[in-house]
Symmetry: none
Subunit: 413 residues, 2 copies
């Protein structure tokens, strides 16, 4: 067997773009100074990648599942478990998880404020969390964790739970919280539990000190829960079981950490890492190098700043985010280039002109010091189309990385 | 319907490689003088091919199944039936076949030598084969054929046999032959038969003249069988049934002959054809031309020498093997170029630097005097990336060859 390499995946969120008149008809990737990415492109193998499939606009969660080697359609658990993992509420196969909001209802359960005023002090979040976490309904245990502002994650633990239920959230104020129905026969127990939970949560929440104080100040009280994005943690094998690898995630955003943890990666925290342009790129580079040298087989590094700039329509900031990531990757190559096989890409296109995800494919480059080069010289959406890997899918990335890294047994003999 | 062509597939085993510093950063295919391959590339259609899939390192057996148009995952029978066919023991659907070793055990069935000294004279092999071939256990018939040195192939014929059983081979000396267990309920009969066979074979083998003589000379006796690589001949339709074609194989190695025969090809022996660089390339060319003119619809020619050179890390020999195959293919084109559609490729990459199979894709060229050309001018791993067929899979080769050759009816009307 050949010497094994550490597989490294660097994702710049939403890095793909379209030509922009304001920068001479170039994309931000073309306009940015990216000496490292360009030398990887020149020495490596390039492709344009449909992360999910041609014409499909990827979500951040499905895109990352695909990049991690999971079928983004068949193996997508829904947003709930991924958010729960991101919030530090780890689910296990069979659990059903939701994204949760604190909301304000009147005595007839009519929704008055879908965010209960939005702002919550840490001690308010703590009191609400304590009131909700640990509720038991029949044989089902409820786990709850408050996250940012009015948001949280909620997990149901028990036998025979399924996520195929209708929404309790009326999605507008002035309407009553809806009775949840099972959308498939096997989800009837879950629907029953959620309906009971809506009432129990209301009972437990309404009398809390937090709400007495908010009422006194004229701030909307948090006396109900709205749940959305139900998802069931399925029996999908995590990365160590599926591929026999020890994998690590270095990311700033909860959803990316959550998705990575859902598939069995270990989260490596980095001081100063955030989901914005102010993230500490130097510290991320240092920690990535440390992690590569620490015995992991696979290291995933996620940079969110490119996507934030896209959503804000901020060309200059997107270019800066790309250039800083280029420098970051350069440090990794300089330090441990001979130990790795690396892929650099995006999870989707977020054109500055659209400010949202679109279906356009993203460039990807695979580099190692042993890889066959192709004729591409620059890392960009337009150059990548001429790469030797042609068009690939997001689900091809993990097999290519791990195949080149030497982790797969020969198939057959 | 257009005039039909004979489909010809030439596989240079393990021909794919990576750039090598010792030959100026070229691959052996780039360094070799290949006027025929280059003119095929210039006049034909080129692609890089993932024989199984991106990132997957093909085995020789699975790779060839894919190239013959069989799903290498769903339709792979395991090594046993392919080896049995290669040894001239033809299996039929429902048979379970194994690779077999003569071994030495003590009176408690503890393995003393896993190869029973390795060397066997033809008359020793014949006596052992006669003792084993034809054994009947319950309603199951055992067929056995000795092959090279201590090796052989063993087939179980009977109703309700399955290959999902654990291994009898302890895989080290000093340990007892293991009791085989069924890994799936339907394989319980097979496990029982194999356990009985281990004892019956021991009884029949231990008193043979061969063993008395070996014992006298102090050579390990062949008094037990070790079985491995169980596989069941499934109901996969052979090529004549699947595609309505009459197919022939010209190959030196038993595994390649066996795999081709398993899918219904007829073996055409060639005087002087071996699995090494000493194979008679001239005779192979002559026989290939004869076979193309003899009424077959499909002719598969396998050259093993490229892979042997790769496993030995011998650059010069790999280049010679490529150049001799180039000459061989040139003779076929000169003689019957107007009667064929030909594809030239490898079954996997075996880099000289690694000396084993790797996942890197292989170049493939399709040529006929009617085919649309693309812009590729040379046959190599790097040039093929720019071919008009882009990236294909091994399973695409048979449909492309037979489609161009004119054997498929219009799909729809």
């Amino acid at each position: 067997m050949a010497e094994k390499r550490i597989a490294v995946l660097v994702v710049m969120d939403g890095v793909g773009d379209r030509p922009l008149r304001a920068i001479g008809g170039k994309t931000p990737l073309q306009a940015a100074k990216t000496p490292t990415f360009d030398s990887l492109a020149a020495e490596g193998q390039n492709a344009l990648m449909d992360v999910i499939g041609p014409g499909i606009t990827p979500g951040s969660d499905t895109a990352h599942l695909a990049l991690f080697g999971y079928d983004p359609i068949a193996e997508y658990p829904g947003r709930g478990p991924l958010e729960a993992f991101g919030a530090g509420l780890e689910t296990k196969p069979g659990d059903v998880a939701f994204r949760a909001n604190f909301a304000t209802v009147d005595s007839k359960m009519v929704v008055i404020d879908r965010r209960a005023g939005r702002d919550f002090a840490p001690e308010e979040q703590a009191e609400l969390q304590a009131a909700l976490d640990g509720i038991e309904i029949d044989d089902v245990k409820v786990r709850f964790k408050a996250t940012v502002e009015h948001r949280g994650a909620l997990v149901l633990e028990g036998e025979g739970l399924y996520a195929d239920i209708s929404d309790a959230d009326p999605h507008e104020t002035g309407k009553k919280i809806l009775t949840v129905r099972a959308l498939k026969p096997e989800a009837e127990k879950t629907a029953r539990i959620v309906n009971k939970l809506m009432r129990v949560a209301h009972q437990r929440m309404k009398g809390l000190e937090t709400n007495k104080n908010r009422a006194k100040k004229g701030i909307p009280v948090a006396n109900a829960l709205l749940l959305r994005g139900p998802g069931r943690h399925s029996d999908v094998p995590p990365l160590p079981a599926r591929y026999g690898i020890k994998a690590a995630v270095i990311a700033g955003g909860a959803l990316y950490i959550g998705t990575a943890k859902y598939v069995g990666m270990e989260h490596i925290p980095v001081e100063g890492q955030t989901g914005t342009i102010d993230t500490n790129f130097d510290n991320i580079a240092k920690k990535a190098i440390e992690t590569i040298e620490a015995g992991y087989n696979y290291v995933f590094v996620h940079i969110k700043a490119t996507d934030n700039a896209s959503h804000d329509g901020n060309i200059a900031e997107k270019i800066v985010a790309i250039e800083k990531t280029d420098t970051l990757v350069g440090k990794i190559i300089d330090a441990v280039g001979d130990k790795i096989i690396i892929a650099v890409t995006g999870d989707h296109t977020s054109p500055i002109s659209i400010k949202e995800h679109t279906c356009d494919p993203v460039p990807i480059v695979f580099w190692s010091d042993f890889i066959r080069p192709d004729s591409v010289k620059r890392f960009s959406e337009l150059d990548a189309a001429f790469g030797s890997l042609n068009s690939i899918r997001g689900m091809d990335v993990m097999p290519l990385l791990l195949g080149y890294a030497g982790y797969f047994e020969k198939f057959g003999s």
